[in-house]
Symmetry: C2
Subunit: 522 residues, 2 copies
């Protein structure tokens, strides 16, 4: 055998690695390209190896020479092949020779079990689909009465905005948001919430969660200590954990966050996260004394106050209470609001009112996080407010929610005379307080079996001293659903009390676990 | 004077502090409420002080008693007043006695100059409005040809989406985004970008900036060292600085990031941020050898690769190059894409393709950052893709951009024969490289005086060894604008060379600064 024919055999060997199906949807040049790439990645073709000429391969494959030339050009351009003038085409010598799995067919879902991610992210609790995503129900939390939303008006404004869209609106926007929306929000906050601000201080964000995150990033260092409300809103803790801050839980009583206890626990905290208008979950409104104490503390400690005013548009007993920000003579309050409760959550628009001297720093951080808010949503919200629909919607919803709240309170007083209620003057939820030792999580599990979604209160505590109870949303409850649902709560509480009695009696005989599982299943 | 009449005088003194204007738009009860609150906050009324009865005040102010009763009820409810049965109404004794500025009139914009914010935020560079916000022009960067966007189709789809909106779509969504959009994106990426993924791995985000931020937060710890491209995209540096990571600049040459140099500089880096399809700003495509070297390094170092594939839809010389992610047999690549360049930036929709084992951690972090993406934009994008408009738009734009790119290259070759061009095979920009010592910032300032926006290349470097040049966008340039703009660049370069000659000649005589300022003034 001559050297030449030996070389031809080798090339034929290479050629046989390339499979082409002329009836396939994939173009032939692409099939040739992919065959070569896969053989190189799997190390069947090695760096430096000679490749048949395009003419030879075309003849061997019985295809036109054009797709072969195209494939070779692509492989050369991407660096899998190299052409040496007068010598031929080779697998690039610079390619590393590691043998790889066939990446065209191997799945990516078999990584090694332990892979290093950030320490803070690894420490966050497991993701669970929030109960309100899949379960609607009379006590659903965090959602307004979406079936009362004026969809037709919204659709008309959206269509008008889309028709009027011109290409200048399609560009990257200002990290603060649409100027027109900032202006209507500033005007609304000045008159309705007693917030002292100009439009220049308003930044449009994607909701109060992003506002909490941005404020944390701008203001706080890792290891900074921060007051949080105890009990409080769980996603505040996530934000602080994510930033490496140390949360200092400060008890909330009937007047709101207990500032003196906060000072006792950590006078030098760098910030306090509070919801003074309508605390979550207890629903209390912070008293004037506590507000002024908090501002005095922040002033003397050089601390920031992050005021989350997430649902204060709905107040049922008197005129709405002004914001804490409006009392602040030292520009220490970062005010946060959202349209999630007054319009709808899937809109993803909220806002931050920023002290004048911090406006520029917030802009820098915002840009590095996600540039700016989307244009069209902002335009429609601004039109909705300017058109008077916003004020009308709030007025109307306040009446609906006040009715639902009253129905709920009446039902609780009638069916559950031993329970106390907190936070029924405002917002979209009340807290139902049980005696200290009631197992609210177990009772909630039992209620879910009976089709009633109950959010237990105790998980809202960061510390170990917890009150038992439930956070009952009434935003989405039709009035007729409320009394029957409260009756289910009553039955679950009675069953739990009976079980508790049996537990005491039977623990010694070890039969408790069987009973409990029967209860939870049934 | 009897004690009683003395007390009455005191009460009259209190009453005179309350001013009411019956012709004002503000309701009388609100005026009374605000007067009292302001006097308490300014310490003109002190804690424990007796307040006139509602009857007395009404008589004194010559108004009906109802608004006075309403105001008192509000002040009691908020905790400014306290009522003691049988004794009267007092300023609450628990109020702190600090004298405050009159918060109703004082502006918040005079805080002390030094206020503590986070160390990382304080270290970020000053916010400047990006030049592309206010200056359109032939070499504008980062923006696609928005005047070619199919606005009518978009508006029709938006209107249809708004008309069909039902209230279940208004709820909080999944942190991953709309399932339907995730599916069409996964299908698009598999066929067009060679990304290996299922819809479950796709998270909808607000653009590539948020994707970079989320990936950084999930994967990296403060002080972790991270390879970045040198030169590279400036906002990657912001993200890493904001997270407290240490960027290790790794030079980019004609084959992309130089992996061997990266290993020399920092073998144990935790991640590499790369744009292998079309690097910013040099426009190079990473060769097969470098891709495989990078994957080998990541595998052996246990490092992550963040692949930013921001504009690879536009490739002019051959078929698009598959993603780096598609070559990865070890699930170490986080793939990032965006609709900012192929649709429009103000849409704020991008995506991350996440290795299967990290999907849950990304969800937890995403929820704590901003819950989820807004519904309507996602719906419209999904409809736009499913309707075939997306593929048609990309095809059409590829032709337009290829023309513009060719026109630009021809003009540069003709007018600036001494300059070299990089990255003209793909994307929406090319790099024009000058000799090392040319002052690209000064030349850009001079060009701006002549109405041409030029982005200097040297600020894209993190280190001190910098190449001079310009990053020329051609996405927004009408073909007819290009040659005249290149002529302006030529004039500015000539002027700079002349100035440089004069500078050498005149530096000893100290007249350079005068000349320079004359030149810059134009």
């Amino acid at each position: 055998m001559t050297t030449l024919s030996a070389a031809k055999d080798v090339l034929r060997g290479v050629a046989t690695l390339v499979a082409v199906d002329t009836r396939a949807a994939t173009p032939i040049y692409s099939q040739i390209y992919q065959s070569f790439r896969a053989r190189i990645l799997s190390a069947e073709l090695r760096a430096g190896q000679l490749i048949p000429s395009s003419r030879e391969l075309a003849r061997y494959l019985r295809v036109s020479r054009f797709p072969v030339l195209n494939a070779y050009a692509q492989l050369i351009a991407e660096g899998y092949f190299e052409a040496r003038v007068g010598t031929g085409t080779f697998v690039a010598r610079s390619l590393p020779v590691t043998v790889r799995a066939d990446t065209a067919t191997r799945a990516t879902d078999t990584p090694s079990p332990l892979r290093s991610i950030s320490v803070r992210t690894a420490a966050l609790p497991r993701y669970a689909v929030p109960y309100w995503v899949n379960h609607a129900g009379p006590f659903q939390l965090g959602q307004p009465a979406l079936d009362e939303f004026p969809l037709k008006i919204w659709a008309a404004l959206t269509s008008r905005c889309a028709r009027r869209l011109d290409c200048t609106a399609l560009r990257y926007g200002n990290p603060f948001g649409l100027d027109d929306l900032r202006e209507v929000i500033a005007a609304y906050l000045r008159t309705s919430r007693g917030v002292r601000c100009a439009a220049e201080q308003v930044m449009i964000v994607s909701g109060s969660q992003q506002a909490l995150d941005i404020a944390t990033r701008v203001l706080l260092n890792p290891r900074d200590r921060v007051w949080i409300e105890e009990p409080g809103y769980w996603l505040v803790r996530h934000v602080l954990d994510g930033a490496g801050c140390r949360a200092v839980p400060v008890p909330v009583d009937a007047e709101g966050l207990d500032v003196e206890q906060g000072i006792d626990r950590c006078r030098q905290a760098r910030a306090a996260f509070v919801a003074p208008s309508h605390q979550y979950p207890l629903g209390v409104t912070m008293s004037a004394t506590r507000r002024l104490q908090l501002l005095d503390w922040a002033h003397s400690a050089g601390a920031w106050i992050i005021e989350d005013d997430y649902d204060s548009e709905y107040r049922y007993d008197r005129m709405p209470i002004g914001s804490l920000q409006g009392l602040d003579a030292d520009a220490r309050v970062i005010y946060i609001g959202t349209f999630s409760k007054v319009l709808f959550p899937a809109l993803r628009i909220g806002y931050i009112v920023i002290p004048v001297d911090l406006v520029e720093r917030f802009a820098v951080v915002r840009r590095s996080i996600d540039m700016c808010a989307p244009y069209e949503n902002q335009r429609v919200v601004a039109d909705f407010i300017r058109g008077g629909h916003f004020a009308r919607h709030i007025r109307r919803m306040r009446g609906i929610y006040a009715d639902r709240c009253r129905t709920l309170i009446d039902a609780i007083r009638e069916q559950l005379p031993g329970c106390s209620i907190a936070g029924a003057e405002a917002g979209l939820h009340v807290a139902l307080l049980l005696s200290h030792d009631a197992a609210d999580r177990e009772i909630a599990a039992a209620a879910l079996q009976r089709g009633v979604l109950l959010a237990p209160l105790s998980p809202s505590y960061a510390g170990t001293t917890r009150r038992s109870g439930f956070v009952l949303g009434f935003g989405t409850s039709a009035a007729a659903e409320i009394a029957p649902a409260v009756r289910v709560v009553k039955q679950c509480l009675s069953a739990a009390r009976a079980l508790e009695g049996t537990r005491r009696a039977t623990t010694r005989r070890g039969s408790f676990d069987r009973m409990k599982s029967r209860f939870l299943d049934g």
